[in-house]
Symmetry: C2
Subunit: 425 residues, 2 copies
Amino acid sequence: MPDPSVPQTRTPEAEQSAPEPGRGVSRRALLGTAGATGLVLGAAGGALGYAAAPAPATPLTSIGTDRAMFHGKHQPGITDALQAHGHLVAFDLKPGAGRKQAAALLRRWSVAAERLMAGEAAPHEDTDVARDAGPSSLTVTFGFGHSFFARTGLEKQRPAALDPLPDFSADHLDRKRGEGDLWVQIGANDALVAFHALRTLQKEAGDAARVRWQMNGFNRSPGTTAHAMTTRNLMGQIDGTRNPKPAEPDFDQRIFVPASGEPAWMANGSYAVVRRIRMLLDDWEKLARPAQEAVIGRRKSDGAPLSGGDETTPMDLEKADAQGEYVVPLNAHARITRPDQNGGAAMLRRPFSFHDGYDADGTPDAGLLFICWQADPLRGFVPVQRKLDRGDALSRYLRHEASGLFAVPGGAAKGEYVGQRLLES
Amino acid sequence: MPDPSVPQTRTPEAEQSAPEPGRGVSRRALLGTAGATGLVLGAAGGALGYAAAPAPATPLTSIGTDRAMFHGKHQPGITDALQAHGHLVAFDLKPGAGRKQAAALLRRWSVAAERLMAGEAAPHEDTDVARDAGPSSLTVTFGFGHSFFARTGLEKQRPAALDPLPDFSADHLDRKRGEGDLWVQIGANDALVAFHALRTLQKEAGDAARVRWQMNGFNRSPGTTAHAMTTRNLMGQIDGTRNPKPAEPDFDQRIFVPASGEPAWMANGSYAVVRRIRMLLDDWEKLARPAQEAVIGRRKSDGAPLSGGDETTPMDLEKADAQGEYVVPLNAHARITRPDQNGGAAMLRRPFSFHDGYDADGTPDAGLLFICWQADPLRGFVPVQRKLDRGDALSRYLRHEASGLFAVPGGAAKGEYVGQRLLES
């Protein structure tokens, strides 16, 4: 077994010897957004000291070399750009595993996540599945579920914000695919890099934890569309238009627990609500386009509100047509979910689509792995979902099949592991 | 419903008004392999007449604009580069549907495939799921299974090559996930483009056919690795090193039915063997690297034979170590599958990896959607699989869970649909 204290380079790329950029500053940004292929190759194959590596057959583009940072104020995978591939996985501690084993596990997981996000080999017996690939914007994010705290004797540290979500009338929840002691979100722009991370973390779980549930998701590949701000979901709608933007002054306050927040170990953390939302595509696709647009309140083609303008134009909720009817119907999804209709609360939605084949009757098992981030679920997800539950036009085309709520602590400082402030409190 | 005879442009890209390149000549090739982003954008936003389109937020790269051709001597999706996303789907004709309905279906499917591969909207009620994206190297490939011919009264046209494959001792086949009247292979470098094609073809199946089984797969994303020739599988091995290359003189003869071949409707066609091969990763990953390399006969790091050299070096089957043992063991997978050990037969392997989550006991449901192409399965897949079945070292780490054999006719000429020469024979 290789000595885990000696970093192994998984690729000829020299990420680990490069000057460490700040959180969120990607390799692409360092090289300038022109990001000419020759420049990237020059850096990887020459300037950073790997001139002896054989000339590659095709260049790594920034899709491969882009890198997110593991250490930082917040964990990665919350404000980073959506990746093309995602894995969500929940683990339960095994019988006999308590706080001590959980602490050791989070330490192992943090070591592995840091290495894999840098494009390096796994700490133990790397499987080579991600070999030759760059970091590919891999992010790994860790969270704690409600049940974690009793199992580890840490009930007093359990945030009130982790209290179970209320029941919603539209829920058809499979408990076996929901919640869990520990939650891991993996995202990457390469499927093998993402799978390699999933498998590595499962192996590092060892005797401490076992997989409770696991889901796969996807988003558009970088470079296949000119429409970068937002993505489309499997209903064909542009999704995420009204997401809060990091440049907005109250962004941090809405999404992250303040540094002085409670409990102290959640400083700079966030809460993730995860829902497996099946889309009833057979019913949805029977609707003509104007009917679909009335359900959402936006045009399908470009995401503009039905009241006019383009995707970023504010919705005119009062605008009426010649018959005096609101052009954005009262039960339109986009009207009901508008932050200024919900006490100013907001959540950052960062979803993946999913498609797990077909049911026996030919119905696609497809939809959205809805993931939203907020400083407080009772001010973010819950009030919005309560409103939707009372009469949103979209709800009849959706089925919430699984649910999870997780406390995602702040990012680990250098030398620290994720959750250390909880587990060593 | 829009008039299907009027092409709708799905994107601001003007592929359909561009001069039509020959089969396999991609947009990227037309623009030169430097493929500078500005050039691609210039073409899409200016030279081809869409100057009024709003400036996109980010550029489409060649990942989005690359395009495979629907019309040609052979169907697409056989010799094209592996795509990042794949869907395999089999359909059975519905009760009451016969030759006439099948012909109409193949005509509808061909129209849809041609349009989607050009980055245009679906012929009927496009769902917008692929909107904004380029063609993203989409390919759609159609095949006929053994059962198709009795259902359509075309038994006399059924090729002998479609006779059921022999049983192999290692098979654990789920019949419900195997075979089928019709088979469609979809590949694309964007997940939404691939899903959109799958869903469009399912909708076009209408009253004629229903989904029998469907599987999802993936490969590495373009640009994430410098290692372009071959891909890695979920065991971490480089896969496809010994694939026949189109430049080799006997390539066509091995992979495609000759223009004068039998039956006549299969001229320039090929036979696809499809196997869902579960990898027993928990067992595999317990093997130390040297043991894994002995199973395969090649180094994991770079795919070089254990007899030395690099990935492309011919394997020295006679080379022995100091103890007189063959350095490439007698039961090594790469030794047994060498074409020159199998009467010169060869198949073109063009697989996708799959990962459908975890079994209840924490075992990953993952492996390879093995797809191989050959002029004659009895000279391609069958003799190789027979040899593997007798004592290949890799077999104990694999389980063949589903199987299909399909006759894939030659490509459709302009104005023709795939399978027309069979269905109107």
